[in-house]
């Protein structure tokens, strides 16, 4: 489908309002990135979202946008409380899929010769893949406590520190969760999975700070050149998938009931004040909390493994202060939230959908933890397992243009099928080792689907959000040991 793209400047492309679009589309991309984006159907999905009732400003797309289902992956849309809608397709199946970053006092040269054993220690510590049921199995009442308590539940049960909670979006506990709005099926799927990575693009990655672009921000985040980091990428597992499934079925009926015209069934939605939307929000909030708790429990598992690994022998683990392993930030990239934003000089309460997009609040925002408030919210943008990832800081531009949002990753370039086909012609594990990356995986197929070639270069993605003023580049992280599902 040919779309009349209008280039606004080096980093912005507008899709003008036409037909029944309620707002224009706005894609953050330079000329080279736009060529890649235009090869799939994601711009059409930006247009589809622009048709939804009550959408405010623009139907937005980040430079890592790619073809999803319903919303594009990398899409952001905000809705007015009076005439706007809530759409499970604008959140995605993996509700509160997100990234957590930890820093440490360990240095790259201290671990570079021990990566084979270190990667094995992490692989054994963190349940992953399809066989990866957690060592924590919850009874139903406990699960309901998790759904309401989020990461706080984990900390209260000795799986982390209170200090961790200060640096999690929403303090690790999303308000409005009502476990009675979650189906038994979703609960069944969630109970054995707390503290597990899952498969696909989820990972646990030990890396190091290879480059610093902003000394003050890096210092505030606790990141120094050569310092070892740990990054976790996972979400709400089967519980979130089932909540999304359940909601889509309800919302399809609701769309017909409320006369919402859909250009894609996956965009089914209900008015924000309707019982259907309120029910979904209450269930979604449970999945958000499950995911915060999930990353918190995995953090605990990883910490325990590292303390043991760097200890002085059996039964004599290192002390937490020796490793200085501290959470930098935990941010989600699949969610719908009520937030206040300035729109044309007016402060408005809006329901912001971020699907494959990260919150990136700028300096001074009260939701940014006090220790980072002068800098801006940390934003983690993972690349692929063979190259690098970036840490950014949210900037003023995001507050002005994107409802405080920016990119979430590299964005796929090849389908999983194409990536596998390419990977099977090459010794992938050996190639990664030659680059200095030890990969441990539950499934070889997952690694094949996730090869570097399958992704855009994340450096190009972050250069665009940096250039557009949505976030500032702070540091580059290079992977050393990766655990995949």
């Amino acid at each position: 489908m040919t779309r009349p793209f209008e280039r606004i400047d080096e980093y912005r492309v507008r899709i003008p309002k036409q037909g029944d679009m309620r707002v224009p589309g706005l894609i953050f991309a330079d000329a080279q990135m736009m060529e890649v984006i235009a090869t799939d159907r994601s711009p059409e999905q930006v247009v589809n979202v622009a048709h939804l009732p009550g959408i405010v400003g623009h139907s937005l797309a980040m430079p890592d946008i790619h073809w999803g289902y319903g919303f594009p992956i990398g899409g952001v849309a905000a809705f007015d409380p009076e005439d706007g809608v809530l759409s499970p397709g604008g959140v995605g199946y993996d509700i509160n899929c997100g990234v957590r970053l930890l820093r440490s006092d360990l240095m790259h040269d201290e671990i570079v010769d021990r990566l084979e054993d270190l990667s094995l220690a992490l692989y054994k510590a963190i349940p992953c893949g399809m066989g990866g049921s957690s060592t924590i199995s919850l009874r139903k009442p406990e699960l309901e406590d998790v759904l309401q308590g989020g990461a706080r539940w984990a900390v209260e049960h000795g799986l982390g520190d209170n200090a961790d909670l200060d640096v999690i979006e929403e303090g690790g506990r999303f308000p409005g969760a009502e476990p009675r709005k979650v189906s038994d099926r979703a609960k069944d799927r969630g109970r054995p999975q707390l503290g597990s990575l899952g498969s696909g693009n989820h990972f646990c990655e030990l890396g190091y700070v290879a480059e610093i672009y902003d000394q003050d921000a890096a210092a505030a985040f606790g990141l120094g050149l050569g310092g070892v980091t740990l990054m976790l990428h996972s979400g709400s597992r089967g519980l979130g998938h089932q909540i999304c499934d359940d909601a889509l079925h309800t919302m399809l009926r609701a769309s017909a009931k409320y006369g919402i015209a859909l250009r894609d069934r996956q965009l089914c939605a209900a008015p924000l004040g309707s019982p259907e939307a309120l029910d979904y929000f209450a269930a979604m909030a449970c999945a958000v909390n499950f995911a915060f708790a999930n990353r918190q429990v995995m953090t605990h598992f990883a910490r325990e493994a590292l303390l043991k690994f760097f200890g002085r022998g059996p039964g004599r683990p290192a002390s937490p202060s020796e490793l200085g392993l501290r959470v930098v930030y935990d941010v989600c990239h699949n969610i719908a939230k009520w937030e206040e934003h300035d729109v044309d000089g007016e402060k408005r309460r809006l329901c912001v959908h971020r699907k494959g997009a990260t919150r990136a609040f700028g300096p001074g925002h009260p939701s940014v933890p006090a220790r980072y408030r002068d800098i801006g919210q940390p934003v983690m943008v993972p690349g692929d397992m063979g190259r690098y990832s970036f840490v950014l800081a949210g900037a003023e531009g995001a507050m002005r243009e994107t409802f405080g949002s920016c990119c979430h990753g590299a964005g796929r370039r090849l389908s999983r099928m194409a990536a596998k086909k390419l990977a099977r012609t090459r010794p992938i594990f050996q190639e990664l080792r030659e680059r200095g990356v030890f990969v441990r995986a539950d499934s070889k197929a997952t690694v094949e689907e996730e090869i570097s070639d399958a992704y855009k270069d994340v450096a190009d993605v972050v250069d665009i959000v940096h250039g557009a003023g949505l976030a500032r580049k702070v540091a580059k992280l290079v992977p050393l040991a990766v655990v995949k599902g």
């Binding site: 998938h241 399809l252 009926r253 389908s415």
Partner: protein, 156 residues
């Protein structure tokens, strides 16, 4: 004969499939996810074929055979919804209960679907790939001249 049902909104309908097989499927490219084209002479066969396609992905083509039976009853409001709800049932049975569907006899009811799924119980360990859900995105179910074709995108 049932009327043709076109579920897609703004999508591309599957190409006419030139194949001698009564029922079959193939994977098609989708940047982020996994998509299937399916074909069969009857809607019930199409659903059984869809289950086999998904189970093959879940098990990397190594699903154990079995003749165990599960009763199935699903609410759905049209054929597209029937296909999506059925595949999500197949996923639930495999991932949570370890039951791998390899065939099904399903009847369309005004409320949705009812019938039996056949396959292998206790096969949770054979599931090696995670598939989150069948989606409604770009969904097509149609009946042209007595031949059923469908396209469904899976979130993986």
């Amino acid at each position: 004969m049932r009327a043709a049902t076109v579920v897609a909104m703004g999508g591309i309908v599957p190409a006419v499939l030139q194949t001698p097989a009564v029922a079959g499927h193939r994977q098609i490219e989708h940047t982020a996810d996994l998509a299937f084209e399916l074909w069969a002479d009857e809607f019930g066969e199409l659903l059984a074929e869809a289950a086999r396609a998904v189970v093959a992905v879940l098990t990397d083509g190594r699903a154990p055979a079995g003749t165990d039976v599960r009763e199935v009853e699903l609410a759905a409001f049209d054929d597209g919804d029937r296909l999506v709800r059925w595949l999500n049932e197949v996923l639930y049975l495999a991932i949570v209960e370890g039951f791998l569907v390899n065939d099904a006899t399903l009847a369309i009811t005004p409320e949705g679907l009812r019938g039996q799924a056949r396959g292998c119980s206790g096969a949770r360990d054979a599931v090696v790939t995670e598939v989150k859900s069948a989606t409604y995105h770009d969904l097509v179910v149609r009946n042209d001249g007595g031949r059923w074709t469908a396209r469904v995108v899976m979130d993986v």
